[in-house]
Symmetry: C2
Subunit: 410 residues, 2 copies
């Protein structure tokens, strides 16, 4: 007789519905390979939102009282797909208090309250898995915890926000302005009516907080991430970058400095066309890893969407199912290192500078300018620290500079 793993589902939006559907499709195949039948038995629904159709279709009970899920001893795992902090956080802590495992896709919550939740799960002796929170369907977090365990990562860089990557790809492909692309993305449902979370780099920063923990073992907070968004990026800058041999991408990077401190940032970056991240277009995501063992590797896939994200949720559930049979509980991440953040000037890098007027004759031969990159109204610098950059740029008049972006090395 097969074991069962019973799920209490919180959240029946796009991803929650995706989990119901994929599980219906995959239940038998999963049972054949793990010996465990995974069943959604109850779901939490607001009394103001009729979910009877989906409950009947997939054969589970509805309740408007979270206690009914907590108190149900047959439920092994709570799958939280409500998102945001409240009430998701309390629901997850409640699950732990009732010795139930939790699977979630909630990046906002994990990035802001990860250590507290992880500690609570550990104390309760249950699992807290969140593969779906970074890179949608991409198998990034568990792979960092397993395959990269015997490796030393020196930097991890990713296109981890699909909305902005879609916008940047579309600006270049159709020669559209930032405003026009944003309006189109909103009309198609790829961007929200208030797009700040995506275009200001907040969503990417949440993911970098999580990637930093899995890649370096270091716990950081949102305030430790230097964040720049893509709001108002000019199509001219993308065109200039093309001429110089680069694509403009919103890149999150966590990297070790020569003195082993960590610098974490999110911002628009000029990526050399030969770099694997350069050819990631539209809504796709990619995470590029440099390490002392494997050297250079990348994982690529859809960064969002109901079915990819639901697959990551099912992958977490499958691990819990196998562990139930084996009688063990595995933590999601075992990497613990003291957090040592880099000082602002520890990293030197090249910058792209765009101007509103051409450089004056006496500005063109400046020693810190990469002369080969000189265009009429844009150029790249030699490697500079942040304060060196600020000092050099002080020769420009107010309003002469229209854009500054980092440049990724080949």
């Amino acid at each position: 007789m097969k074991e069962r793993l019973n799920i209490g589902l919180l959240g029946m939006g796009v991803v929650g519905t995706g989990v119901c559907q994929l599980l219906a499709e995959q239940r038998e195949a999963i049972a054949a390979r793990t010996g465990v039948e995974i069943c959604i038995t109850k779901a939490l629904a607001s009394p103001y939102d009729d979910k009877t159709a989906i409950a009947q279709k997939y054969g589970f009970e509805l309740t408007s009282d979270i206690q009914e899920i907590y108190q149900d001893d047959a439920i092994d795992v709570i799958v939280e797909l409500i998102g945001k902090i409240d009430p998701a956080k309390d629901f997850i802590l409640g699950a732990f208090a009732h010795k139930k495992h939790v699977v979630t896709a909630n990046k906002d919550l994990l990035a802001t309250h990860g250590p507290e939740l992880t500690a609570a799960a550990q104390q309760a002796g249950v699992a807290l898995y969140y593969e779906a929170s970074v890179g949608g369907g991409i198998p990034i977090l568990r792979t960092l915890s397993t395959h990269y365990l015997p490796d030393t990562i020196t930097s991890i860089s990713g296109i981890v926000n699909g909305t902005t990557n879609y916008m940047l790809t579309k600006m270049l492909a159709d020669n559209l302005s930032y405003e026009a692309v944003l309006a189109e993305a909103q009309a198609k449902g790829f961007a929200e009516s208030d797009p700040s979370n995506d275009v200001d780099g907040i969503d990417a920063a949440y993911k970098m907080v999580l990637l930093t923990k899995f890649a370096f073992g270091m716990t950081i907070e949102m305030k430790d991430v230097s964040i720049t968004g893509i709001r108002g990026l000019a199509i001219e800058d993308i065109a200039h970058a093309q001429q110089l041999g680069y694509e403009v991408k919103l890149i999150g990077t966590a990297q070790k400095t020569p003195s082993h401190h960590l610098a974490v940032s999110v911002g628009p970056v000029l990526v050399p066309k030969s770099h694997p991240l350069a050819s990631i277009n539209y809504e796709f995501n990619g995470v590029y890893i440099e390490s002392t063992g494997i050297d250079r590797s990348m994982l690529y896939g859809p960064g969002a969407g109901a079915r990819p994200t639901a697959t990551s949720v099912l992958a977490d559930l499958t691990v819990i199912a196998k562990n139930k049979v084996a009688g063990i509980t595995e933590p999601f991440v075992t990497f613990e290192q003291p957090t040592k953040l880099a000082a602002p000037n520890e990293l030197r890098q090249c910058y792209y500078i765009a101007l509103n007027q051409p450089l004056a004759a006496n500005q063109q031969k400046l020693e810190w300018i990469n002369q080969e990159s000189m265009a009429e109204k844009a150029f790249m610098t030699k490697p500079l620290s942040q304060s060196e950059l600020t000092a050099e740029l002080s020769i420009f008049e107010d309003g002469q500079i229209s854009q500054i972006m980092k440049v990724m090395e080949e």
Copy 2:
């Protein structure tokens, strides 16, 4: 007190030495995260090959008698890095007979005797892991077994041979002939003096046999793979492909036909430049997966080399170490499906055809030719089955066709 996992090492070539070195670098970090110290305690060395220096450097004993490793009850795992079939196969079966786990990078052996070895490991209740056998440092096999377990893969395509990808990249980049690039690769040690295994597609086919098992659960043999190599590929064909918007890559593909049969092939393929596999250059490998859950994803990294391959070996050892603490043994792959191979004409695809002379006027308007792709001495077909292709090509004279390659869909 920490647990120990003791290793008996067979093979101290490039990868074996890499394992010694990486383990020396990573032992403490692995112990901190798993609670297990992994130690090479004995290595097998031929009496004709002095390995004292490496044994002293890394602190293990040497023996010329495999029995001394088998009989050593303190040894938990045998790491086999000799390669080829004999004596590696007997050594591995001997390890199982003595209840020792095995980690290997031996793709030839697993592709030709995988089912026998897997059954022997299972019967002995030990693990047989071989992450390093496909894609060097890329975390492909275990990820297929875990993250893709709740997904249904419809096709898996890879650049899984670094030597030929290096050669193809170099031909285009430096406008060199096949012969010139092969000679250069041999001089640099990237290709062997007898390059058949790489250039004739044999090595890639071994890897496709393994990927087929992990992606589809189907056991196939080398004879089931339709293999074409890159021997004698003309630089003109690569240039033609460029003009049409394609890169030429040696691609291994295992894909489901509409009737759920499996077609597995290795050969030079025209890959659209917008496809993620198109930008994988030089010695890098990539495995691209289409599935009903995640949709489209790819894993990318170095396909060979001492440190990347050794990292995959260490990743396998780390799993065995964690399982030792948990008191469990996990099989590497649990996917079992009846093998249903496609008939030769089940798949229809587009082909690239290169000619020695331009098409005659009465040949140019043929209905099965993709008219948009017409060049002076090359064109692409509309989708055809293999026998349709043969029938259509019968109108050409002997020697009029210089090259036929498959074309990958966008």
